[in-house]
Structures are given as C-alpha cells and as structure tokens.
Symmetry: C2
Subunit: 250 residues, 2 copies
C-alpha cells in the first residue's frame, strides 16, 4: 500500500521548491509550460469549480509593461510600509523571467460555493492550490518560480487591458517561470535574508499538537513578533554592511 | 536537468488525490501522520510566515463533538441554500475518519505581510498551500483525505473550546485522514455526482491562453452557469432515481 518512493520524491520536490527572483534569459519550451499547467489544473478547488485560467506571456515588451504595472503598486506601498523588506518583491523582476504565467480566477464560479461561506476566500484558496501544484511541477522539471501577488486596483486594471482579460476574472497572481540565475541568487546582497530564511521551517514538533492544543508550545505575542523579524523574509532588521535592497527601475 | 520520473510521480499523485468522504475504521500510524505533516510544513507561505499549526484528533468522543459542531453550521445553511448538494458535505462524516487534522492559522503572522495587501487572504492562501501539500503527502502513503471548511461563528468557538485553541488562531480547515472505504465510496448513491465529477477537469487547451486572453475560448455567463450545474460537485440537478442526499444525524 505504502509507496515510499512516491513520498520521498514529493518530499524532495517540496523541499527543493523555493522562490527564485533572478532568472537567466534561457527560454522555456512550450511543451514544458504545458506539462506544468497540466498538473496545475489537477489541484483541488472548492466544489471542483476549477476557477483558474492561465495567460502565458513571453513577449518582452508585454512582460516589461506587466512588470511596470505591478511595480507601481509597490512604489506607493514602500512609502506606506517602510519596514517591509522590499528587496524580495517579485514584481520589479517580472521582466527578467522568460515566461510569466498570469493566473486568472473566474469569479462566476463562486456561485458553486455554499452561500454561508465567503466565496472570495474559497476562490483564492482554490487558486493557491493550483499555483502550488504549478510550482511543484516546475520544480520537477528543473524550472524555478516565484509568486507575485496583486489584489485589484490600478495595476490589475492595466494588466487586464494589456492582456484583454474579461472583467469576470481576478488577476491576483503572476508566476514567473524560468531557469534560476544561480550566481545572482547566491550573491545578490539584497537577497541575503531571503536566501537564508526561505528554506527554513519551524521544527515539526513545535507545530504539531496531539489530541488538543498543547499550551506549553504556545508562542507568546513577543515570540511571535520576534519570529517575524528573525524568520520571515519580509521583515528584516537592516544590515548596514549590505547594499540597499532598493528595487531597480523598470 | 529534466527529471521526468519526478514529474511523472507528481502528476500521478495529483491525479490520484481526491476527496474521500467515507473512511474505514482502520487507525493511522502516528509515524504516517508525522510524515504527512513534515511535507505539509514545507509549503510556500506569504513571506515564509508559516502560519500553520496542527491539532491531531483521534479520540472518538472528541471527533464526535467536532463533527456535531461543524455540522450545526450546515444544518442551518441547508435551509438558506437548498440548491446546494449537501450530500457532499464533509462535516457530518468527520466522526468516521480515524484522524482529524485541525489546521490552525496564526493571525499574528499577518504582521509579516505588506500592509497594502489583505492579510486575511494571504493567510488563507498560505494555509491552502499547506493543506494541498498535506493531501498529496497522504496520497503518496495510500491514505485519503477531504477538506472541510469553517469560517468562524459558533462552530469555530465550540471547537476552540473543545481543543483549547488560543484566540489568535483561525480554525478554518479540518482535514479528515484515513483509509478510503472503497465500497461506500463506489456505491453510496448520494455521492454519485461527486464520484463522477470529482476527477474531471476542463481540457488543458480550454484554460490556457498564449500571449493574451483568447476571447474565442471565453465562456459566456450561460456556459459558466451550465458548467456549475453539470461539472461542480456542489450544484446538482436532483435525480429522482437516487436516494436522498440527506446527511445522517451526528
């Protein structure tokens, strides 16, 4: 019954998958993109509503315009949220990935969901499943990905117009796909915290409770805050020895 | 570079995974639960915030009380949403799975997310990734799962009190784990639509757009509605030959 090679392979893929923010210019064969999306569409979704569609963007000028639209949001956000580690933002680097997979969510599928639950959450959970499947599939083919998030507003409207996406679709997620620029990924000073912290996970024993919640494992509010500053990739105490994490102009 | 055995294995797992709503009473070894959660915790999360913790419930009385709490929501919902196919609801059957994994989401981790994005959505997307990883891992070990959703309210408060879960955690997801009762899964009349439709996916070509959105593939509003009634597992035209899909009392 137990197929440990299947488990071991899955665990290896899950551990290898990481967010890559620097890509080589090497193109990705269409056959590989299709293989990746063929797994993505197998994901579980609320009510098997399969709300996802995909726009695969390779044209450099289109990628540049998507990157510019997505980055405009983040330029504004940097002013409002200066303690965020903006050097990890995927958006300014979307141009450098040879392929962008823009993941659309068909809002009309929310009519399949029970009216007692918030459909917008079920829709995003379904899309998240699809994107994780996409990322694992890419990993299995030696490709790398990241996960860029939008949530409406002007950038979404610009991308909608650029790609001709009908109004019934959300445009919340852009997944760059390509081959990792290993040298940049290993050396870029601004990516240091992400490089170190990205693969780390809390120990299994600290997140598992048998029978009922074990309060001896409970993190205090202070410990939770410390975890964010020490372990997340988004809140980083500035290191004066590191070069600035400022995103490049697009 | 390309490891096709890794891809093939992942595709097989993604295609095999399905929602199982009837389990045998065979217990699940703790070692397998730990192996499953060890992959679940490798999932990507917003900012690597890892907001998940897990309560593993095996005690029959506790499972019965969780099932009763979760089902109370659905009893009320059935009145308000009679066209929903309530026979697929996971909640009344939670008692029958030997293991329930209650997935908690630490709301405090939302402080890691950029303030310009809705943290409650990023939190649920992160939890969804974790649960999909959990489900694929279970599949690789010959185990079956489903995905029960709560979104606050009285059932959540009852489960919170029962399991001693602190207020900073969401209790949105309950994943039953066990061995599929193949006979029940194959024969239960009420599960017919889910059995037939659950494995189906829209053809790859119909959901992929190259370069920009291809309007010739656009589903009309009527076609989208028809899809829900013909392909989702949640909206099903009643079949007078089938026995009622009424959920059993818990």
């Amino acid at each position: 019954m137990t197929d440990s090679s299947g488990y071991d392979n899955l665990r290896r893929l899950a551990a290898q998958r990481r967010s890559v923010r620097r890509f080589t210019s090497e193109p990705v064969a269409h056959e590989l993109i299709e293989m990746i999306l063929d797994i993505a569409r197998l994901a579980p979704s609320a009510g098997n509503s399969q709300p996802w569609e995909f726009v695969v963007v390779e044209d450099a000028e289109t990628r540049r315009r998507i990157a510019r639209a997505a980055t405009s949001l983040f330029r504004e956000a940097r002013k409002r949220d200066p303690s965020f580690n903006w050097s990890i933002a995927v958006q300014p680097y979307l141009l450098r990935a040879p392929v962008l997979i823009v993941v659309l969510g068909d809002r009309r599928m929310m009519a399949a969901y029970p009216s007692i639950l918030r459909g917008n959450v079920l829709l995003r959970q379904s899309l998240a499943n699809c994107i994780y499947g996409l990322q694992l599939a890419a990993t299995s083919l030696g490709l790398s990905t990241a996960w860029g998030t939008l949530q409406g507003g002007r950038p979404e409207e610009e991308i909608r117009a650029l790609l001709g996406v009908p109004d019934n679709f959300t445009i919340d997620h852009i997944v760059p796909v390509g081959y990792s620029d290993e040298q940049e990924m290993a050396c870029a000073a601004a990516l240091g915290p992400a490089r170190e912290r990205g693969p780390r996970r809390r120990p299994l024993d600290s997140v598992v409770h048998w029978g009922r919640y074990d309060v001896t494992k409970m993190r205090s509010d202070e410990a939770a805050r410390d975890f964010i500053w020490a372990e997340s990739v988004t809140r980083v105490v500035p290191d004066p020895d590191r070069t600035s994490g400022a995103a490049p102009p697009v």
